[in-house]
């Protein structure tokens, strides 16, 4: 017999500003200059903005520009999701790329037009760098926006709200390794 009380505690998830800030500072901000050299430009700016969202399916973290943040806040005020067409957790929807039970993925320098970019199944983690999303919407017409850097963690049998931040931190560590290796270090 399953313990319904325990199962129930797994269902909802809201990102913790404090926990994300701690991880971001340790892994991406408080680093030696030598490490920052191979980081994406968005992490080299003097005023770094991030946005995180989460629900029972996933935790995500995006690094955005000042202009992106204004667009996101404008969408929020209109009750639109901040990144229309970027991802879906409903596997029946068509998408350009699919992730399911796949860890440490990396999507870099892609443009997706007239399609959802990512179909996100269970137990997946992946990084998105310099990604452009363009899509026609009923409400706003054609829109296009860029994701300088984003992290996705989807929940499932192995990744749960209890270890979500651990997985986020490991995915960030993985992205740093990938950037370092791309610079031949």
């Amino acid at each position: 017999m399953q313990d319904s009380k325990y199962q129930g505690t797994q269902m909802s998830f809201s990102p913790s500003i404090e926990k994300i800030r701690d991880i971001v500072e340790r892994r991406l901000l408080r680093v030696e200059r030598e490490s920052k050299n191979y980081f994406p430009d968005i992490l080299k700016s003097s005023n770094i903005h991030w946005v995180s969202f989460g629900n029972e399916n996933l935790l995500s973290l995006f690094f955005v520009t000042e202009d992106d943040l204004k667009r996101i806040q404008s969408y929020q005020s209109q009750k639109y999701e901040p990144f229309p067409g970027l991802f879906a957790t409903d596997s029946s929807l068509p998408a350009a790329f699919g992730f399911k039970q796949s860890r440490f993925g990396l999507v870099s320098g892609c443009s997706v037009t007239n399609s959802i970019s990512f179909s996100i199944g269970k137990d997946s983690t992946f990084v998105v760098v310099d990604h452009t999303q363009s899509i026609d919407t009923k409400e706003l017409g054609s829109i296009s926006y860029r994701i300088p850097l984003g992290y996705f963690i989807s929940f499932g049998d192995e990744i749960t709200p209890d270890n979500a931040y651990e997985n986020l931190e490991e995915l960030i560590a993985y992205s740093v390794k990938a950037w370092r290796e791309s610079h031949g270090k």
Partner: protein
Amino acid sequence: MANETENLHDALEALICDEKNKELECRAYLKYARDLLVDVTTATFLEEAEEYRGHSGNSDYLIVCRAVDAAGIETNKAYLWEVKAPQCFLFEHDTNNRVRPTKEFISAENQLLHYYEESRGSTQFRDEFRITHPDDVKLGGLIIGSKRTWVRGGNYDASTLARLYKRALDLRRRYLYGNSGIKVMIWDHFLDYLKKQEAPKPSGKVFNTSISIPEPNYTIVNSGG
């Protein structure tokens, strides 16, 4: 680099799948996943030692790196890990609805705590690695087992086994490890980390019509607080 990573991945996978105890052989691969073993980003790994000798025994894996603290000051940090073979089981049958940690798992936990307490209190240890404050000696965690050694014994079906394993581990994380920062990693995790990078395959599907922008069904927070 791609070939090297591929070779590392395949070689580690073979060790994990082996029936014999491959702790020592697997330990040699930890240096390729150093970023997973520390809680900071650094370009400077100062020391890595397998079997660092202390009074209460040998610490299985020690890694020392340079980090920048909240005040912007560079400081050395040491992380201690206890390593067991991918062939070791993490949990074993207790009841039909509960599993318990194996002797190997408990032993690893106990060894780690003793090494940690001894190291952070040892002036000799801190001097050797130029660690200025005991708080910069950190608990890493346990590296033990693999997906096929989650649970020993019991006639559990696959989904029950996975549920009981997850529950037992989540409870330890939540109530025992929460404040200490102890991590538990299985060897498959390192395998994922070392896997060859494959470009995601485009599905080729496109929409023919405009989409509706839904109201967000998630909680949104940002760096502004």
